[in-house]
């Protein structure tokens, strides 16, 4: 592990807040200038005021659609992660299973899952959310599986010797050593998977299925030229992603307060 603290320049506290805020204000100013004052922006780029107006006006329906997409992402994340944890556990414990699963996971990792959506939608019926949830689950599965499997193999020889010398049983070994060692890896996997699940659930809506969800709205309003409304739905999508990211990051910080030295 390398340390970066030596090369980092420490800034005073207020700069850390003021610097990104200044960048944000600058962007908004340029944006307003380009759209509303100079009127040089393309038609599909409305001003921040117009997007804000639509966001307030349609907040009820945007939240409703965000909940649908968010639920799909959450179901996918939970189910995909659970399957990943179980299979990673089996892989770590039994060599033959590892041999069976490794090429399969490698294959899943390189397939653009979202591109399979039309097929999955047709397979599971276009009237329900199930196809979308499957897409999110597959997207979440890969990073969780890879990270957990790695985490389960990180126990140090000195710790294994110590537990053997203490006459620990197989279950105690798992509970006291293997699991706590793997936990930070699981949470890193979950944090990566949460973003992927949201993206997958949202983009899956572009390829058919029921006429609800953030992705469906973005696609249909963009096609019908309602740029401001389309963008206000994009903000809804950002909100979902942010919530997922923040919750999993918080979880990661809580659990790994004491990172392995």
């Amino acid at each position: 592990m390398t340390t970066t603290s030596g090369s980092e320049i420490t800034l005073p506290g207020w700069v850390k807040i003021a610097a990104p805020a200044a960048v944000g204000i600058l962007i908004v100013v340029v944006w307003v200038l380009a759209v509303d004052v100079l009127k040089i922006a393309p038609r599909m780029v409305p001003g921040p005021a117009a997007i804000g107006e639509e966001l307030v006006l349609r907040s009820g329906i945007i939240v409703e659609d965000a909940l649908i997409t968010g639920t799909n992402a959450l179901v996918g994340l939970v189910v995909g992660s659970l399957i990943a944890v179980v299979l990673a556990g089996l892989s770590a414990a039994l060599r033959p299973i590892d041999g069976m699963l490794a090429p399969l996971v490698a294959a899943i990792a390189v397939v653009p899952i979202v591109a399979l959506t039309p097929i999955l939608n047709t397979m599971f019926g276009a009237s329900g959310q199930f196809g979308r949830q499957v897409v999110a689950a597959i997207a979440a599965f890969v990073p969780v599986f890879i990270n957990v499997l790695r985490g389960l193999r990180q126990t140090q020889p000195v710790h294994r010797d110590l537990l053997r010398a203490s006459g620990a049983s197989g279950w105690q070994n798992f509970r006291v050593l293997t699991l706590p060692t793997a936990l930070p890896y699981l949470l890193t996997g979950l944090r990566i998977a949460s973003s992927l699940a949201v993206i997958a659930a949202l983009v899956a809506e572009y390829f058919g299925g029921p006429a609800d969800g953030i992705g469906t709205a973005i696609a249909s309003y963009a096609k019908s030229g309602r740029a401001a409304l389309s963008w206000s739905y994009v903000i809804g999508g950002i909100a979902i992603g942010l919530v997922f990211f923040l919750v999993t990051s918080l979880l990661e910080r809580l659990v790994t307060r004491r990172p392995p030295v």
Binding site: D161, L162, R164, A165, G167, A168, P180, R258, P259, V261
Partner: protein
């Protein structure tokens, strides 16, 4: 089952050997080891790298299995002794679990054997006092210096009042000052607990300072070449490090290691 005769012997090795088989040949790590360690006796294993001193310790601890000879710990097989927790062990790396507090690390062996929480707490307080870390019980290992971490590891090895302590270069990664201080502390702790110790080291002064007997080993294949009684008695104060009989024994061990008389001793 344990009669007075076997109970007074902590470790008894007869013709013990260990061979590791690699892909196309066999490496003899240890051969023909005969050694008895009495209860309460402090025995150091010393020798150059590859002499099998750590291997011998791992065989006693049942972390590896002997491929020849017989090994008895308090009259039992090594694996029985391990499962009965007849020994405590400390390694060169402290091997503390970083997500556990100092206290929880010390209590780990107790926890694994179902000792109740109040009893664990009581024992941790005793252990922390013994190694001088009472104020650090709630800290995490990464907040401690290397020497302190090693003291936690020693406290952990003592958690279950073992009659035998196995130590594999526990001070090997520490600086000289910390090392000498911990040697004195270990001497005091061992005197207080009355445990037998098998102590692997490659430091001659350390071996002489701590031990009743120093077992000199040599590599290719690993075997015992000499056993030297220090006869330095029970008190292991700092004054001992300056005494003539201590230097004499250091010289004797050095000669045994090099296989030839050394002219002068002007270093430590």
């Amino acid at each position: 089952m344990i009669d007075a005769n076997t109970a007074s012997t902590a470790v008894k090795a007869v013709g013990v050997g260990k061979a590791f088989t690699t892909r196309n040949d066999e490496v003899v790590a240890l051969t023909g080891v005969d050694l008895e360690v009495d209860a309460g006796e402090f025995v150091s294993l010393i020798g150059p790298s590859g002499c099998g001193k750590s291997t011998l310790l791992r065989l006693i601890a049942d972390l590896d299995e002997a491929s020849a000879g017989t090994l008895e710990i308090f009259g039992k097989s090594a694996s029985r002794a391990r499962l009965d927790q007849d020994y405590g062990i400390a390694f060169q790396q402290s091997g503390l679990l970083p997500w556990r507090t100092v206290g929880a690390n010390m209590a780990l062996p107790l926890e694994l054997h179902g000792v109740s929480a109040p009893d664990r707490k009581k024992r941790v307080a005793e252990l922390a006092a013994l190694v001088g870390l009472s104020d650090f019980v709630d800290r995490y290992p990464d907040q401690l210096s290397g020497g302190m971490q090693q003291r936690v590891a020693i406290a952990r090895s003592l958690a279950e009042h073992p009659r035998l302590l196995l130590m594999d270069e526990p001070f090997g990664a520490l600086d000289e000052m910390t090392r000498e201080r911990l040697q004195s502390e270990l001497a005091r702790i061992v005197a207080e607990t009355g445990a037998a110790v098998v102590f692997v080291t490659h430091s001659i002064p350390e071996a002489v300072f701590l031990s009743d007997r120093v077992v000199v080993m040599s590599p290719r294949p690993g075997r015992i070449t000499d056993i030297i009684e220090t006869g330095l008695g029970t008190g292991r104060g700092e004054a001992l490090r300056e005494s003539a009989e201590y230097f004499e024994k250091v010289t004797e061990v050095r000669e045994a290691l090099h296989g030839a008389p050394v002219e002068r001793v002007n270093e430590r």
